[in-house]
């Protein structure tokens, strides 16, 4: 049972996070003042399904919180409330808060009750705002947020009282009557009585002189605690009771669920410490009083850990949501594969040479199906990059407000698909790059106007496929990188020589050096110079690379090139002697036979060849890998494979090309070690192992 529920929890969390994203993007799209009810409806629906789901699973804290948001949204939808910037900010904050709450529940962590409380307060303030500004409806939402501040335990300034009253069986025999108590309470303020019939026995066992009932009482009004205490004075020893002040409807709604962290955090401080020991209190009441106290202490202990820290420990979600269309294709293919297989076994049963053609056909079909199956299985792991991109409108919105800049974010190609692992790992580096663009790239409006640019800066995030790679570009039309400043800084930090002559590219590369930052002022957004080298390391770890194009005053573009998937690679097998190596197809430009005329020696040592006007260095495979069986020792005898790696082209000299195939990348490091010039290994059709070449590594190796 519990396992089943946990399974549903996962689905609920996933859906909720999706809904939160929908709400967030909806909120960001809301036009100020102009109410587009469809947009609000979308947000409302998101909030509503979260409320419903969390209610079902008993996450009362979440559902109560969402209820507040819903109330606010509802008023907006009905046009009773104007869509203001402040309301949107509050709602965005609430979305964040909900996300934190859900994350905390998902990871079975303590919720930061203080933070949630402050979000709830601002929500209530926002709700109140309209109530006070003369809205006609008497929505009983909030009365006074002041009362919500943690008040002194014995403060008399409560807006009302909630009393759990369960008399002992013999109460009537002592001459007391609950009705009289209630009547008296009624004189203090508006009284609401809920009776609990659980203790009531069947009519046959009922003793009319005993009191089986217990009550929940709500008295509204500014009532002194002593007044209430006075009323219960007479029955104090003959009942179990607990008093609680409350200040708004929301708190009331929460009271039934004392285990709920959020309500508790807000309320516990207002609990009147009824002297438990003096009352022969039943377990239920004791726990009702004690639990909140514990839970108030918990958040206090945890309050030093920031939400950022909590994020770091988030459980990696290992599930993946797949488009059903993809699964249908998969099932189709498996069906065809089974048919082909049965056809082949039929041929095999009574095989003679006349059926050779059949067999060949069948094998060809099998090959096609296997390849298609492989492709569509790989496809399952593919996710659109919008999973990463979707967080940036929010980031831009928040940051531009904070920085006092006007920035428009444009997303292009969000539907480009890329492997799930890549999507997950790319998001942090990308956040860093976008932050950099927003913080350092885009200028303040005045500065932009002075430079003759439109006040609103533009940051573009674009994803597209190129070859077997996905390219993600972060483009801004800001101030661009200042080459002289970068160089001066690098000299100052001792990273380069004073009179070193660097190409533009090399200068831009400087910002990837650890400890390099040119920002005049450190902000909490960026500028500490620890980021860019980490960004580059992360991207290189994914098998990608990063390049910068920039023009002073016009803006800069940072492009990340990443492989589509980390598991499979299109490879070209090449032979050197009796060894086989795989060259990633993406890095091959062409293969040529060189003639003597094309060959040159630089300074008598380094070999180069000329290809359409360019002189390219030659990397002799048999030399750098020390392959003694190599057949071609003279450059004119073998083949020159022109490859490109990290912006550098060179000729890879091999004996022969063997064939193209898709290879599954296997790690050399899991059982062995990293080998220079080799990025991994794969298993060939005959079961032997072939090494996959790492072109940039090879170039480095040959330069040594």
């Amino acid at each position: 049972m519990s396992i089943d529920m946990a399974q549903f929890h996962q689905v609920f969390f996933e859906e909720s996070f999706e809904n939160l994203e929908v709400m967030e993007s909806g909120l960001l799209n809301l036009d100020m003042g102009d109410v587009n009810s469809e947009e609000i409806n979308t947000i409302f629906r998101g909030a509503h399904s979260i409320k419903g789901g969390s209610g079902t699973f008993g996450f009362t804290g979440v559902s109560n919180f969402t209820h507040l948001m819903e109330t606010l949204l509802d008023e907006m939808r009905d046009g009773r409330r104007k869509v203001t910037q402040s309301a949107i900010t509050v709602l965005l904050g609430a979305v964040d808060c909900l996300r934190e709450m859900l994350l905390a529940i998902q990871n079975e962590q303590e919720v930061d009750a203080n933070a949630i409380d402050s979000y709830r307060k601002s929500l209530e303030t926002e709700l109140n705002h309209v109530n006070h500004s003369g809205a006609s409806d008497a929505s009983p939402v909030t009365r006074d947020i002041q009362a919500h501040q943690p008040i002194e335990p014995l403060s008399n300034q409560a807006q009302g009282w909630h009393i759990a009253f369960s008399p002992h069986l013999h109460l009537m025999k002592t001459g007391n009557d609950p009705i009289r108590i209630f009547r008296e309470l009624g004189t203090l303020g508006e009284l609401e009585v809920t009776v609990d019939l659980q203790g009531l026995p069947s009519i046959y066992n009922l003793d009319p002189e005993e009191c089986y009932l217990s009550w929940e009482l709500r008295v509204t009004g500014a009532i002194e605690f002593s007044d209430i205490e006075g009323i219960f004075d007479w029955v104090e020893d003959d009942c179990d009771m607990a008093f609680q002040s409350y200040s708004d409807k929301n708190a009331l709604a929460n009271q039934s669920d004392q285990t709920d962290l959020i309500s508790v955090a807000g309320l516990a401080s207002e609990l009147v410490p009824v002297d438990v020991s003096s009352l022969p209190a039943s377990l239920s009441i004791v726990s009702a009083v004690e639990k909140p106290v514990e839970q108030v202490l918990e958040p206090a202990k945890n309050s030093s850990t920031t939400t950022e820290d909590n994020r770091a420990t988030v459980k990696g979600s290992n599930s993946i949501r797949v488009d059903t269309a993809k699964i249908d294709t998969l099932i189709n293919m498996v069906g065809e594969l089974v048919i082909t297989q049965s056809m082949l076994s039929l041929i095999g049963e009574h095989f003679d040479l006349t059926k050779l053609d059949h067999l060949k056909n069948g094998l060809a079909q099998l090959e096609r199906h296997t390849r298609e199956l492989q492709e569509s299985v790989m496809n399952i792991r593919m996710l659109p990059v919008s999973f990463v991109f979707s967080r940036f409108p929010r980031l831009t919105h928040d940051l531009s407000a904070k920085l006092g800049k006007k920035i428009e974010l444009k997303l292009v190609g969000e539907h480009t698909e890329v492997d799930k692992t890549v999507v997950e790992l790319i998001s942090d580096p990308l956040v860093h790059l976008v932050r950099n663009s927003l913080d350092h790239g885009i200028e303040l409006p005045d500065e932009r106007r002075a430079a003759g640019k439109p006040e609103v800066g533009r940051v573009t995030l674009e994803a597209y496929h190129r070859g077997g790679n996905i390219v993600i570009e972060v483009r801004d039309d800001g101030r661009g990188l200042n080459k002289d400043k970068l160089k001066a800084k690098a000299i100052e930090k001792g990273l380069i020589d004073k009179d070193a002559s660097l190409t533009d590219k090399q200068i831009y590369e400087l910002i990837f050096m650890p400890g390099f930052s040119t920002a005049e002022q450190l902000t909490d957004i960026s500028g500490r110079g620890v980021g860019m080298d980490v960004v580059r390391r992360n991207i290189q770890a994914l098998g990608g690379n990063i390049e910068i194009i920039s023009e002073l005053g016009k803006g800069s573009t940072i492009a990340i090139h990443l492989p589509l998937t980390l598991a499979i690679l299109d490879g070209q097998s090449v032979a050197v002697g009796d060894e086989t190596y795989i060259v990633p197809l993406v890095s091959i430009i062409e293969s040529i036979n060189v003639t003597d005329k094309m060959l040159n020696r630089v300074a008598g040592k380094g070999e180069t060849f000329r290809l359409r006007g360019d002189y390219l260095p030659i990397v002799r495979m048999h030399q750098i890998f020390d392959i003694k069986t190599a057949r071609a020792k003279k450059l004119t005898e073998g083949l020159m494979v022109v490859v490109e790696g990290q912006g550098m082209r060179c000729g890879l000299f091999v004996d022969d090309l063997l064939g193209q195939q898709q290879v599954v990348i296997k790690s050399l490091e899991s059982n062995y070690r990293r080998v220079e010039g080799v990025s991994g290994a794969t298993i060939l059709g005959d079961g032997s192992v072939a090494l996959i070449l790492d072109i940039p590594g090879l170039v480095r190796l040959s330069n040594q």
Binding site: E579, I624, F625, D626, I627, K666, S667, L668, S670, N671, Y672, R673, V675, E676, G677, V678, A681, I683, G687, S688, V689, A690, L691, L701
Partner: protein, 179 residues
Amino acid sequence: MTPVAVEHQELLPINHEHGSPQVLQFLSFTLGNEEYGVNILRVQEIRSWEPVSRIPNVPSYEKGVVNLRGAIVPIIDLRERFNLNYAEYTSLTVVVVLQAEFNGKSRTMGVVVDAVSDVVEVDKNSIQRAPDFGTKVNTLFINGLASVNERMLMLLDVEKLLKLDGIDDVDLNATESKN
């Protein structure tokens, strides 16, 4: 079915109590005239020698890698590792596939030996510390010595044997050259 299982379960712990604290099992194998042993719990399997894919620019004792049911597993020549004289690979040459844990990750590696001979039981208390052999064998890999049927068995430390990465190699080479 059930009573047999119960009997079995009852038997096992008794056996263990008898043996396990004092007696360790070793797989013994030969390299030339010398006999070595590795803890049998570290041995994954024993395979016949088959050609490997060479890895460029690594020490010559690292023969290369093979495909072991989909995993890429390196093969180490123990003769070369221990600076013993070179021997042709014959039909008797075997590869002992060993496993060891490094930083919580298990690593598999094959070592080429002349022949495997036996599984022997060694009393824990009879294991002696390895003396300094001088130049011939690097005692770093040797955990201790045991005598089995009047023969000396050198017990190898699998963890150290399978450690190949950078810094370690430098250390080993340094000690080797010093010796």
